[in-house]
Structures are given as structure tokens and as C-alpha cells.
């Protein structure tokens, strides 16, 4: 029988992580399903588990001059209701799961799960989110895009845990998020798209595009975004075909039970157009 450790403080977490070989469980809304067996018997975890959801010191959302800090055990609903959190991230969370799941699921869990269809990841990549990662004797900071190494693969040592999600404060003039799924709630994305724009003197100062569920990683290409800086408002609105062309080689969806690659690719193009039309 696998053991269950229950942490009530961050110190508990880090000590247990240092001594035991455990998998971290926060809300458990994904982990329980991934390890589901039969009714009436314990969840079929393959290793011992460390429950962290009772750690109150990680349940805070704070800010300083440059960043918003979201504690790792904050529930998605708590994040959704907090006005410090950038609107585009709250837009994506509103379309994640359902209230019942959002009351226990965490953003750190969605990150740790590292699914290419993870709904929050698209906006977090767009916002250049960083993670605070702690072990018993160290604290390190890492960009989310470097933390996710592949499908369900993350750069986290056995004795480490995500303690905060750090989101730089940026005032965009336009943000746009769209999830395409069969049902508003409790649906895994066929694909998702996030766009953001900041203008200065009628010229593009910062423009960002991120696509989810169309490649192993969330697709965000800085070299394409940089090409578009300095373009005036009228010109950028008319550049959809060109921009779709730039992203074409990176949008490599697959056929699966949720959708097919032709549909996904076509919808990505339409969402680029829709975003540009809103400028």
C-alpha cells in the first residue's frame, strides 16, 4: 500500500520531499483521475504521495511593483476572483473545468501536469510567467517555458516543489483568449489561443501570440513577434495572411479523439484573424 503524507506547512513539505520519494498532490482533480481504479478502493497511486492542499502559507496572492505572486496551493476559483490577476489569465481559468473542480484544483497542478492541452499554460506562456521552486536548502526561479520539458515532463527534482507562480505586470491595450472545446466546462481543449498587444504612438510596441494543444509545447515564437514591432495599427490589422504563414511551420497539431489536425490548423488561422480584427 502506498503511503500518504499530509503536509500542513511549507517546512513539512520540504522536509518530507527531502526524505521520501513522493509525488505531490494538491487538489487532486487530475491525479485522482489519472490513477483511478475502482469504486470503494484507494486511489491507485504508483508511489507514495504528499498532500499539500492544507498548506495555508501558499494560499496567498500578492503583488509588488513588478509582479503578481500566486501561491502554489491557491485554488483556481480563488485566482479567478482576484483582481490582481491579469484578466487574460482569469479569462482562461473561467473556461477551465467547472466551479466544483476550480474550488480545489490549482494553477501549480495544471503546470506540474504539463499537458500540451493545459488551459492555463497558454496564457502563462503569453505572460512570460516564472516559477519559484523550493527545496529544503534552495530557492530557484525558472521561466515556465524552460520548466516544461515535454509532454508530462518537467524540470523538477525529487526534493523540489513549485511554491509560487510569478507573473510580470504588463499593461496591454488588448488581450484575447479563446478556448475551442465541445462544452464550455469540463472539456479538454481541442485548441486554445491567446493574444496580447501593447501600442505606443499608434505603433506596435509588444505583440504576443500563444497557441495550445497544437504541438508538444505551447507555441510562442518571439522571433515572429519581434518582426511585428514598430508596425502601425492599420498595417498590422491587414497582415493576417502573412502572420498565419509565419506560424504555419510551428502549428503541428495531431489527430486524436478530440479533434483532427486540419480542423485545428484552420481554427488557429481563424483565431489569428479574429485577434487582429479586434485591434
Amino acid at each position: 500500500m502506498v503511503k500518504a503524507f499530509v503536509a500542513k506547512s511549507l517546512d513539512d513539505c520540504l522536509n518530507i520531499l527531502n526524505q521520501e520519494n513522493v509525488k505531490i498532490v494538491a487538489g487532486g482533480t487530475d491525479m485522482l483521475i489519472q490513477n483511478r481504479t475502482h469504486s470503494g478502493i484507494a486511489i491507485g497511486f504508483k508511489t507514495d504521495v504528499l498532500y499539500v492542499s492544507l498548506v495555508d502559507e501558499l494560499k496567498h496572492i500578492t503583488e509588488d511593483k513588478s509582479n503578481i505572486y500566486i501561491g502554489a496551493t491557491c485554488s483556481l476559483e480563488q485566482i479567478l476572483e482576484n483582481n490582481l490577476v491579469p484578466k487574460i489569465l482569469r479569462d482562461s481559468i473561467l473556461e477551465m473545468a467547472s466551479p466544483a473542480i476550480r474550488h480545489t484544483a490549482t494553477l501549480a497542478g495544471n503546470i506540474g501536469n504539463a499537458s500540451p492541452a493545459g488551459d492555463s499554460l497558454v496564457c502563462l506562456y503569453l505572460l512570460d510567467a516564472k516559477l519559484e521552486i523550493k527545496s529544503i536548502n534552495s530557492t530557484r526561479y525558472q521561466l515556465l517555458k524552460d520548466f516544461i520539458l515535454g509532454v508530462r515532463k518537467i524540470d523538477l527534482a525529487k526534493n523540489e516543489m513549485i511554491t509560487k507562480i510569478i507573473i510580470p505586470k504588463i499593461n496591454f491595450d488588448l488581450v484575447y483568449f479563446r478556448k475551442v472545446g465541445p462544452r464550455l466546462s469540463d472539456a479538454i481543449s481541442k485548441l486554445s489561443f491567446a493574444g496580447a498587444l501593447r501600442m505606443e504612438n499608434n505603433l506596435v510596441k509588444d505583440i504576443r501570440f500563444a497557441f495550445g494543444a497544437v504541438n508538444i509545447f505551447v507555441v510562442r515564437r518571439r522571433e515572429i513577434e519581434e518582426k511585428l514591432i514598430g508596425i502601425d495599427k492599420k498595417t498590422i490589422k491587414d497582415m493576417s495572411d502573412e502572420i498565419i504563414g509565419y506560424y504555419s511551420e510551428f502549428i503541428k497539431p495531431i489527430d486524436d479523439q478530440r479533434s483532427n489536425k486540419l480542423y485545428r490548423k484552420e481554427v488557429c488561422s481563424n483565431l489569428i484573424k479574429e485577434f487582429l480584427e479586434k485591434i
Partner: protein
């Protein structure tokens, strides 16, 4: 196995149990509370919904460990309240119940929503009920039931 204490339907309970059990199984098998039901078993249907610290959660995706020192209310515990009476009557009046399998979860979702937002608009009601599936009514009657409950129970939430 480990001892775990929590409040269940307004009573403090303690049980010696594997903390990796799902809350749903513990409620049904150890406490004989069969109001929460297993529908999909993966957090999509809401038939297993209960209130955790007065917010809706799916007991099929809640490990027992996560309810330590928390307050759980199932439909059985909720059914002794005036709020329940109002919601029940609203569901009956509008025809929001047919086979009844989803109804405990729908009522828990209604309570969780109205507790936070006593005057929800149609969109907010749809979001509030979005994790609960009903295969009979087509939802419109349930949405009507929530509106009716909010009206009839004015001041209760």
C-alpha cells in the same frame, strides 16, 4: 491507515482510514450517505457533489486527506435547512427534476452558487451549474428552478 478528523453534516467525526481513499467512497460506504452518487467518476457530471467549507466540490476527485479539519456537508446534511426547503420547492415547482439522479448535485451546485451570489443572472447560473450534467430535463427547467429559488428565498442567501 491514519486517523482523520473533519466535520461532516455539522458533527465532528473521526475515522481511521487510508487517506488515499476518495471522499465519495468514504461518505457512501463508511458513513452510509448515499446522496452523493458516482456518475462519471471523473469530475465531469457533478452527481457526487458535496460542499467543502461551503463550496461545491466533486467528492469523486477529492482525496480523503484533503478534508482533514474541513467541513463537509452532503445533501443529507443540507436537507435540514430552510435554504434546502426553498430550493427543493423551486425544483418541484418548475419541473427541474425527472429521474432525480443528478438532483442532489444540482441542489448542492445551486446552494454553492446562491451562497456566493444571491442574485445570479442567466449566464452566472449556467456557469454555476456547468459542472453538473442532467440527461433528462434539458437544463432550462433547472435554470428556472435556480431563478425561482433565488426569488422565493430572497434574504436567505
Amino acid at each position: 491507515m491514519a486517523k482523520i478528523k473533519f466535520t461532516l453534516n455539522n458533527e465532528v467525526v473521526e475515522i481511521d482510514k487510508d487517506l488515499n481513499m476518495r471522499l465519495l467512497d468514504v461518505l457512501r460506504n463508511d458513513f452510509n450517505l448515499t446522496g452523493p452518487k458516482e456518475g462519471c467518476g471523473e469530475g465531469e457530471c457533478g452527481a457526487c457533489a458535496v460542499l467543502l467549507n461551503h463550496e461545491i466540490v466533486n467528492s469523486c476527485c477529492t482525496p480523503l486527506a484533503n478534508v482533514m479539519d474541513k467541513e463537509i456537508i452532503t445533501i443529507e446534511g443540507f436537507s435540514i435547512t430552510e435554504r434546502y426547503r426553498i430550493i427543493k420547492e423551486a425544483f418541484a415547482k418548475t419541473g427541474g427534476v425527472q429521474c432525480g439522479f443528478c438532483t442532489p448535485g444540482m441542489i448542492i451546485a445551486t446552494e454553492s452558487l446562491l451562497n456566493k451570489n444571491p442574485h445570479p443572472n442567466d449566464f452566472e447560473i449556467k456557469i454555476g451549474l456547468s459542472g453538473n450534467l442532467c440527461r433528462c430535463t434539458g437544463y432550462n427547467l433547472i435554470i428556472e428552478a435556480v431563478k425561482e429559488a433565488a426569488k422565493a428565498g430572497e434574504g436567505l442567501w
